[in-house]
Amino acid sequence: MTTTSEARAAALAREPLRVAGPQPGFASGTWLSIKDIVGQRELLGMLVRRELKAKYKDSTLGFLWSMLRPLAMLLIYYIALGEFLGAARQIDDFAIFIFTGLTAWTLYSDIVITGTGSIVTNAGLIKKIYLPREVFPLSVVGSALFNFVIQLGILLAATALVGRFPTGGRWLYLPLAMGVLVVFATALALLLSALNVYLRDIQYLVEIIIMVFFWISPIVYSWGLVAPKMPNPFLEQLYLANPMTLVVLGFQQVFWVAGDGSLVPDQLGTRLVVALAVGVAFLWVSQRVFARLQANFAQEL
């Protein structure tokens, strides 16, 4: 026996035995899960970088592609909806208006759709090595946020270009709206990615539902066009109960300067705060469900 081995044995003898794999317990598990994930933040960063680097590797335009897609969508909606269908006549600065909604929506749909598939996509790793599996959906959140920042840059440049750069107190809506968006999207990504392991239909279903919600949220049309068409207040409240509606409206409050004075649901700020609180609770429940389901990931994949 060498001294190294004796020192190692002595150090090991002082450590308590711990249970292999994810820690049990429902309420106490939350804290341990968070500790686990924080311990792996460096890996999380690596995975985000891997996703970003690998995505457009070998393409000549590289990251430009992540900008070209929303720009193409902007062009389509601007011409088809704005000019041909005439929406631009009722909405000032229609291009800015659409791009604001699209920027928020792209982040949301990226996180939810890619996140849903993230556990299945990383099956190879999950079956071989134990990691807190939350890192996979979370790395999707990271890479989606990176793309979002680029788009946000374009949006800001555009507002400067039309001479209506957002200033002052309107920025307060941004952290609130972002918070609601990220919390809800992350919660959905966690929940759906775990369910998708057991039922692969989820990922196809999610794509369709996301598409439906794109049209349910006031992205290509304004709240001012919807509100008068609502037959009763209940439906109106139902429409506003969709957190993404609130997020998109919040974003428009910030970036769509030309829309000042147009119709806004009352107490948008309060609604966002409530949505954020609900979202945090939802995130917690999702994480617990995820922790429950992840025990059998390796054998179901």
Partner: protein, 405 residues
């Protein structure tokens, strides 16, 4: 020194897999309520109790599907036991599949960082080890090439290099030692020995029984999810080899039955009855010899039906099962007449210069197509008493002298 602490404690662990035969929503809805009809239980492990002490090297062996890898995955925390608990101490690294975390579109350098991080190294640590990792892998020239352009050997080299530079207390290894070319393999094995020297615990799943014999100080034999033997590699391997023999014999019998029902040509029924060791003149039975002595191996076989165009083989093995010597009638250029009933044959081995130790004699009968019909792996035992002038399985009259001048 006090006894080393337990690093892995497997306490009455069972693992059940449910084999479902349906997966889609439609099938689930249609079969709702009757879903138990479409499930089948499979116990991969049953009531396994194992404790592994710090600093030991343990080989997990067993036939395919015996639950070795399942057990290893449960130690690694990848699978959860259905009942019982697995507890650990210290830092764990798993070499379950090399390059599991490699992304084909990233370069070797990027993948080293990613994989090291997956195995639990921080960025600074990876920075520190990076040159050593690349150096160990021996693929400096290609480190900035995307790994999808790597040959499979390069891929595995890089992955192994990363894995051995992680600093674990417990290393789990699953079937990955047989990679790379020979010089690289030797390098890997040296590294593993280094790990042993540093008091790290290694749990090894492998089918290479020689590796177990060579590296491990303990072997655990699993079969159908249960521990069949646990102890010194020598005893454990003997149990396992006997199991393999039984499995093989089963297969021969089954193929004979199958051949009977289909009417195809089938190997004739025959078996080895036994073997005796005799003095060269055939007079006295023999158990112990000295290097250079001759022995006569008398083999009895029984053929239940006419055995034509057949081969008889004989050889000597070490207690761990490595073949020291083997021959058969084809190699010896002997023609065997057809046999029915019992018959005896003699192999004479003159001038047997074996090193000191115990040896086992194996005997086998093979049919026309070279397919083994029956083998008896420990038909007889031989003890060699050496002069103490050397080690190993060979006895040589070595002389020694300084070179004059």
């Amino acid at each position: 020194m006090t006894s080393p602490p337990t690093v892995i404690k497997i306490d009455d662990v069972s693992k059940r897999f449910v084999i479902r035969k349906e997966k889609s929503l439609k099938e689930r809805v249609v079969n709702f309520g009757r879903s138990n009809l479409h499930k089948e239980d499979f116990w991969a492990l049953r009531n396994v109790d194992v404790e592994i002490q710090s600093g030991s090297t343990v080989g997990l062996v067993g036939p395919n599907g015996s639950g070795k890898s399942t057990l290893l995955k449960m130690i690694g925390g990848i699978l959860q036991p259905t009942s019982g608990t697995v507890s650990l101490r210290g830092r764990l690294a798993a070499l379950l599949e090399l390059g599991a975390g490699f992304h084909p579109d990233l370069t070797g350098r990027e993948n080293v960082y990613l994989n090291a991080s997956i195995l639990g190294l921080s960025r600074q640590q990876t920075d520190r080890y990076f040159d050593a990792i690349v150096d160990f892998s021996g693929i400096e020239r290609f480190i900035d090439t995307q790994v999808k352009f790597y040959s499979s050997g390069m891929y595995v080299r890089l992955a192994f290099s990363v894995a051995v530079h992680v600093d674990p207390d417990v290393l789990l290894v699953d079937e990955v030692l047989a990679v790379g070319d020979e010089p690289f393999q030797r390098k890997c094995l040296e590294r593993i020995r280094g790990f042993q020297h540093e008091g790290r615990t290694i749990v090894l799943v492998t089918h290479g029984l020689d590796q177990v014999a060579e590296f491990c100080d303990r072997a655990i034999v699993l079969e159908h999810g249960q521990v069949m033997a646990d102890g010194a590699p020598r005893e454990a391997l003997r149990v396992l080899r006997a199991d393999f023999e039984a499995i093989r014999q089963d297969e021969v019998e089954r193929s004979q039955e199958r051949a009977e029902t289909t009417g195809a040509a089938r190997p004739p029924r025959a078996r080895v009855l036994g073997a005796q060791l005799l003095t060269p003149d055939g007079g006295e039975p023999l158990t112990t010899i000295e290097p250079g002595d001759a022995i006569r191996v008398r083999v009895q076989i029984q053929a239940d039906e006419k055995l034509e165009d057949w081969v008889l083989g004989m050889g000597l093995d070490t207690p761990l099962g490595a073949v020291v010597y083997g021959t058969n009638t084809t190699l010896l250029g002997a023609r065997l007449d057809p046999v029915i009933g019992t018959a005896s044959f003699d192999f004479v081995l003159p001038d047997l210069r074996l090193g000191e130790g115990a040896y086992a004699v194996h005997v086998a009968v093979a049919g026309t197509n070279g397919l083994e019909i029956h083998r008896m792996s420990e038909a007889s035992h031989l003890e060699v008493r050496g002069s103490g002038r050397g080690q190993g399985q060979l006895s040589v009259d070595t002389t020694f002298s300084p070179v004059a001048g």
